[in-house]
């Protein structure tokens, strides 16, 4: 519409996540033929599904300019609870429901502190991070739990030929995308993240909106935990540890702003999560030193954030209003 949106560099930078993703694919693809095999790509997608799931919930929170550090712990509590129930002979479905319920409750606890007591999200979720980890350790008595086979069967299962983890991820992703882009509630999340005071004055129920994103995040964390469980078949004391950083990284890599109001779960956050996993997978295939993984991942996050800043500056420069013909 305006010349600003047609600038060639801007078009490239607007697609930074996609460009970065294709660049990484091309890079590893050139080094190893095995990497671009369809089986390997599906494998990457499955391996990234747990992080992607947690990152979807994280995107909701980041859109409101908040943050949820407790997601890894929520995964752990849910998994510990589900494992305990399953080992005591309760049916699989009941354990899964208990897990999701735990995530919802954890999210509700965050929501309560953030909206009612108006404590900064960073502090609240840091506290619930420790709370969750502690609760989980208490439930598991700090021992690793091997779960019944039924969990692994679920992870290896397929529905219409699609691996179950991807079915769960795809369903949640589709719902999250529709909610954010096509429902009043979703658009109100963007408004609240842009400027909460203005949103309140405009008559939005900002308390409810804020509360709901933490609950969504808790639920997504639990589902992310479920996917991990079906892949690992066991709950260790470090289950889900530091997942919050992977989730934030995935969302930011996918173009979500930490300042709120900007970002999408599809393709953004999904791409971000897959990108992180792609890098790890590629490094494994290339037989790289495992100590190198976090360094490469952090380099990519750095590049993504830099590109976003570049884009922002270019937009500002291009949208500067001219007074006279150049």
């Amino acid at each position: 519409m305006t010349p600003a949106t047609r600038h060639p560099w801007l078009i490239v930078l607007n697609q930074a996540p996609v460009v970065l993703f294709l660049a990484v694919l091309a890079l590893f693809g050139a080094r190893s033929a095995q990497f671009l095999q369809p089986d390997n790509l599906v494998n990457i997608l499955i391996q990234s599904s747990s992080t992607a799931m947690v990152a979807i919930g994280m995107t909701f929170v980041l859109l409101t300019a908040g943050v949820d550090l407790s997601v890894g712990s929520m995964m752990f509590v849910g998994a510990a609870l589900a494992g305990k129930l399953a080992l005591q002979g309760y049916p699989l479905l009941l354990s899964i429901l208990a897990m999701i319920l735990a995530g919802l409750l954890g999210g509700a606890l965050n929501a309560l502190f953030v909206t009612r007591l108006r404590i900064a999200p960073f502090i609240v979720t840091l506290a619930t991070l420790y709370l969750g980890r502690g609760l989980g350790l208490w439930i598991t008595q700090t021992r690793a739990m091997n779960l019944p086979e039924s969990f692994l069967h679920l992870g290896a299962g397929r529905w219409l030929g699609i691996p179950i983890p991807l079915v769960i991820l795809g369903t949640v992703l589709l719902i999250a995308h529709i909610v954010l882009q096509h429902t009043p509630f979703g658009r109100q999340i963007y408004a609240t993240g842009q400027d909460i005071e203005t949103a309140r004055k405009a008559g939005l129920r900002t308390g409810r909106i804020l509360a709901s994103v933490y609950i969504v995040s808790g639920a997504c964390a639990a589902l992310g935990g479920l996917i991990s469980l079906t892949q690992l078949g066991a709950v260790s004391p470090t289950f889900g540890a530091q997942k919050e950083f992977a989730a934030i990284a995935a969302a930011v890599l996918g173009g979500t702003s930490l300042f709120g109001g900007r970002g999408r779960v599809f393709p953004g956050t999904l791409l971000g999560a897959v990108l992180i996993q792609t890098v790890e997978n590629g490094l494994v295939i290339l037989n790289a030193d495992p100590y190198l993984y976090p360094l490469v991942t952090s380099a990519i996050i750095f590049v993504a954030v830099s590109l976003d800043c570049l884009r922002q500056r270019l937009v500002e420069r291009l949208s500067r209003r001219l007074i006279r013909p150049v």
Partner: protein, 510 residues
Amino acid sequence: MSSPAPAAPPLLRFDRIQKSFFGVPVLQGISLSLDQGRALGLVGENGAGKTTLMNILGGNLAPDAGRIEFAGLPHQPRSPLEAAAAGIAFVHQELNLFPNLSVAENLHLTAFPRRRGFPVIHRALLRAKTRALLEQVSLDIDSDTPVERLTAGERQLVEIAKALGIEARLLILDEPTTSLTDLETRRLFDLLERLRGQGMTMIYISHHLADVLRFCDHIAVLRDGELVGSGPASAFNATRLISLMVGRQLDQVFPGSAPPPDSPPVLEARRLSHPGIIDQVSFTLRAGEILGLSGLMGSGRSELARILFGLDPFGAGEILVEGKPLRRPRPIRCLRRGLAFVTENRREEGLCLEASIADNLLLVALRDFAPPPARWIRRRPLQAAAARIRSAVRLTPTALDSHPVKTLSGGNQQKVVLAKWLLSQPRVIILDEPTRGIDVGAKCEFYQLIHDLAARGTGILLISSEMEELLGLCHRILVLRQGAIRDELQRPEFDRERILRAALHTERAP
């Protein structure tokens, strides 16, 4: 205020509204009424209580005592949403739009059309509804355009379209013309006239008394939370309004001027150019001189100021401070060379709104009070300087440390901005719209301050949209149009028509 058609009850009635903040009374029993299809002009100094009264009406605040009747029913909104549901739309001074959302989404944020049976937005219907609303305000833009791509004037119209969208019966406009160009202002008034013709009732708050006198049917004047005058607009003129607002008769709004001094240049621009922004701008500002920069909005005045203070780049030319070139200007270098810049956006760029008065005052000069080598802050001289500067600008007696700046009135906020720079004892002060949105009394104080600073040898570059201000204060006026200087007038040549002619000139851009 008496109704011309006594049969119909008034649409809106305030009955002895009271409100205090932190024990300070802000509204002391306001009673007012307004008939359907009329426009009420609400004037008063900043801090007189206009905005507080409107916030009560709009559901942002609850009154301590008193009642409001709207459309025959008691009106006690507990939220902006409830006020909107009752048919009251509030177009705030700072526009309440979300730049990251589209025009359509902004217009329907609390009432999206949905697909039947699903909580999903009906996009086609949303577009159609948006188009209809935009048509009513004569705005020809695509409904999916993000608001961040609109101009200030277009955003204002979107705000009014929003009010039409909720089928408001009462439209509150708080300083709606502040950031509009002349053309946009004309469009706005055309629209408001049309809406009034269709029966819309309005409350119009503004410091532009001419606009209020021309447009409104009734005028109410507030002073210190009390209603000091109200009646048909024809009963008022600008002089009477001003004297009611300040509570004393003003013979002369401006302090007298000293003759232009024959003193050394403190700031010079030599053929400053930047593509698309300014072109071959040259001028010399002398010590003790007040040099006015006139021009319409968008003529490049503020852009020039930003370039001079190193906030924006320039392509060609030279800037000299006290005769020596200023290479690669950055704000910090400009500051060290004795330049100060009072921005036109005091809320966004001039102040840390949440911080205390004291913290804001110290922003610029803190370094001077932390001598090397340790650079520890020396509290006592700092506090003494802050106290001195505060009395010099006659800042409100509010506690320096405890009150965040955002609780001050506009005039006092602006004094904090100026005082912050004065602490660094600048040789040159660039003032960009220093009296925008502040009340008449504070304006007079500012004029006196500017005058005194110049008398003590400070060079002052004064950018203003108010012709009176420039004519009354300046020794010399430059007129800018399309980023280039079109005319220069010495004090004896000052002539409104000549300035306007130079500013308006209607040649078409090549």
